[in-house]
C-alpha cells in the first residue's frame, strides 16, 4: 500500500467523523498554539527589555559607577562608595575627554505656598535631558552657564506642574525644594516610550548638578558622566579611566563602566524570561499531553467501532503491518493537522500581541518546526497502542464482531 494511498484513506476516515476528528484535533491545536504564542511573547518581552536597556546608553558618554554600593574597606558599614573631587580631576586629564560631569539624585519635598509634595530630584550637567531621557516642552533647559554659576533654577515634569499650578503657567513661578527657593524655567516630558517610563515616571525636578550639591551636600556622588569627543574609542577610554580611578582610590574593582552593569541586567533579564518561558511552556506542554491522551482515547474508540472493517480488510489480504500503519497514519494526521492549525493560531496570537502592545513577539522558525515535529511524535506515541490493538485482532473474531 503506497504512502499516498494511506494518506488518502486516513483523510477519508477522518472526514467520515468530521466533528469527532475536529474535537480531537482541538486538544493538540490549543496546546501547540499556546506553546508557539508563549515562546514568541517570551522572546519578544526579552527583546523589548534588552532594547530598553540598550536605549539607556547615550552617545559620546561614558558613565562610571561604583561596582558595589556597599564597598569593602569603608569606615562605616552601609556607607556608599562615592566619587571625590580628585576622581573628577583625574578623569579630566585623559585625552579624548571633553568634559566630566556628575549627576546626583535623591528624594526631597517640593513646596509652594499652598502645596507640599514628595518628589525625585535629579541634578546633572546641561545635557541631562539626553541621559535622563526627557524633553523640554516649554521654557528652556538650564545651560552650562547655569551649572557653573550654581543658579537656582529648576525644571519640573508635566504632571508635577499640573499638581502644583493647575492651569497656571508654571514658568517663572518660584518653588521651594529642601527649603531653598528656586525658579521654574521649564517643563519636561519623558521621552521614554517603553515600560521604564512607568518606573521613572514619578514626579521629578531637574536642576544643575552644582545647585543640587549646594542644596543637598550630604548626597553622595555615585555617578560620573564623561563626555567624550566624537570618534573616540569609548570602550578603550573607559577601561583606562576605570583602571586609573581604581589605582587612585587604592581599591581594585571599586568602579566600573555602567555598561557592564547594564550587560549584567540584560543577562539576568535573559535568564529570568527564559525560565518564565520554560515554566509557562511546560504548562502548555501539559495541555498538549492531555490533547495526546484525547487522541489515544478516540483512536481506541475508532478501533473498536471499526473492528468489522478491520476484519474485512484482513480477509481481503491486509497484513497486520498494513492495519497498524492505517491507524497510525490516522492518529499522526490528527495531531499534525491539529498542530499545523495550532501553529497558525500561535502566529496569529503573537501578531495580535505585537500589534496591541508593540512587544516584538516574533515567532522563531525553530519553535514552528519543533512543535510540528513534536505533534507528529505525539501522534505516533498516542496512536501506537490503539493501532497495535487493531493489528493484533484475530481476523475471524473481527469479521464476526457486531
Amino acid at each position: 500500500m503506497s504512502a499516498g494511498e494511506m494518506l488518502l484513506s486516513a483523510l477519508t476516515s477522518l472526514r467520515a467523523n468530521l466533528l469527532r476528528s475536529s474535537l480531537t484535533m482541538l486538544g493538540i491545536f490549543i496546546g501547540v498554539a499556546s506553546i508557539i504564542a508563549i515562546v514568541a511573547i517570551g522572546k519578544g518581552g526579552q527583546t523589548a527589555i534588552v532594547s530598553t536597556i540598550e536605549s539607556q546608553r547615550v552617545q559620546n558618554t561614558i558613565q562610571i559607577i561604583p561596582s558595589e554600593l556597599v564597598a569593602p574597606g569603608l569606615p562605616q558599614p552601609g556607607q556608599i562608595l562615592q566619587f571625590s573631587q580628585s576622581d573628577f580631576d583625574l578623569a579630566r586629564t585623559f585625552p579624548g575627554v571633553q568634559n566630566v560631569y556628575y549627576t546626583l539624585y535623591g528624594t526631597a519635598t517640593i513646596q509652594t505656598p499652598t502645596k507640599s509634595l514628595s518628589i525625585s530630584v535629579d541634578g546633572g550637567p546641561s545635557y541631562l535631558n539626553e541621559i535622563g531621557h526627557f524633553a523640554v516642552v516649554s521654557g528652556r533647559m538650564y545651560t552650562q552657564a547655569d551649572v557653573i554659576a550654581h543658579r537656582r533654577v529648576v525644571l519640573i515634569n508635566q504632571s508635577l506642574a499640573q499638581k502644583l499650578f493647575g492651569a497656571q503657567n508654571p514658568i517663572g513661578q518660584v518653588v521651594s525644594i529642601g527649603g531653598v527657593p528656586l525658579q521654574v524655567i521649564g517643563v519636561t516630558q519623558s521621552t521614554q516610550v517603553n515600560f521604564l517610563s512607568a518606573v521613572y515616571g514619578s514626579d521629578t525636578a531637574y536642576m544643575p548638578a552644582t545647585t543640587c550639591a549646594d542644596l543637598f551636600p550630604n548626597w553622595g556622588i555615585t555617578e560620573m558622566d564623561i563626555q567624550t569627543y566624537p570618534g573616540v574609542n569609548k570602550a578603550q577610554l573607559s577601561k583606562r579611566i576605570v583602571l586609573a580611578l581604581n589605582i587612585h582610590d587604592h581599591q581594585a574593582g571599586a568602579f566600573e563602566d555602567s555598561s557592564g552593569f547594564l550587560l549584567g541586567i540584560e543577562k539576568t533579564v535573559g535568564t529570568v524570561t527564559r525560565i518564565l518561558t520554560l515554566v509557562i511552556g511546560a504548562i502548555a506542554g501539559i495541555a498538549l499531553l492531555v490533547g495526546g491522551i484525547g487522541v489515544m482515547n478516540i483512536m481506541l474508540v475508532s478501533v473498536t467501532e471499526r473492528t468489522q472493517e478491520i476484519g474485512i480488510r484482513m480477509s481481503l489480504g491486509a497484513t497486520r503491518k498494513a492495519i497498524l500503519l492505517q491507524f497510525l497514519v490516522e492518529s499522526v494526521m490528527i495531531t499534525l493537522i491539529g498542530g499545523g492549525c495550532g501553529i497558525g493560531l500561535g502566529v496569529l496570537v503573537a501578531a495580535i500581541v505585537h500589534w496591541l502592545s508593540g512587544l516584538p513577539a516574533a515567532v522563531s522558525w525553530w519553535a514552528v518546526a519543533g512543535s510540528f515535529v513534536f505533534s507528529g511524535v505525539i501522534g505516533v506515541l498516542c496512536g501506537l497502542y490503539p493501532a497495535n490493538k487493531a493489528a493484533r485482532l484475530n481476523p475471524i473474531d473481527a469479521l464476526r464482531y457486531e
Binding site: 500500500m1 480488510r313 484482513m314 480477509s315 489480504g317 498494513a322 475471524i396
Partner: protein, 230 residues
Amino acid sequence: MIELQHVSKRYRVGPEELEVLRGIDLTIRAGEFVSIMGPSGSGKSTLMHILGCLDTPTTGTYTLRGRAVQMLSSTELAQLRNQQIGFVFQNFQLLPRMSALRNVELPLVYAGVQSRLRRERAEALLAQMGLQDRIHHLPNELSGGQKQRVAIARALANEPAILLADEPTGALDSVTGQDIMQLFRSLNDTGVTVVVITHDANVASVADRIVFLQDGQVTDDSQQSGGSQR
C-alpha cells in the same frame, strides 16, 4: 489444488477442549463447483475459515496450490488471502464509506497494484457483474443483490484460486439468491473454482459436488450429475 489431510481443529473453551473438526480429508480440484453442507454446529464455518486461510488447523495438513498453509506466518497468510482466496460473505461485508469501485479496488490496493491499472480492473469486474452504472454508489445505495455482486467482483479482483462463499444467499430473497447462484454457476463455467458453504439444500444443489459435514466429519461426498439448474 486444495488438499486437506486429517485436518482437526480444537478450541479451548474454559476447562474443556472442543473438537470442532475431526480428521477432515478433502480434495478440491481446479475448476470444481463444490457445496459444503451441514447443519449449524457441524463445523462448516470453521472449515471455511481454514480453507480461507483465516485460521490454521490444529493438526493435519492443508495444502493450497502446493503451499503448506499450516506452516505460514500471519503475514504470509494475509498474502495468501489476498492472492488466492476470494471471500463472499452472507452479509456482503462491504466497507460502508467506500464506493463500489473503491471496495473492488481494495484487494488490488493490498496487492500493490498501480492505481490506473487497479481502476481499470475494478471497472471491468463491475461491468462484468452488470454494475457499470453503479460504480460510484455507496453500498447503502445498492440493493442486496447488487451488494453481493459488488462483493463477488471484489472477491475476483486478484484472480484467486478459489471463490469461497459463506451462505452467499442468506441475506437475499429467493429470486435474487437464485440469480447469485446462477452467477456462481456461470463464473464456474469460465473456469473459476467455487466453494459454497450453506445449510440450504436448494442452494447446495446448484453445485456439481456436495460435501456433507456433521459433527466435524465428512459424512457424504457426492458428485451431482445434472444437479445444476442451468
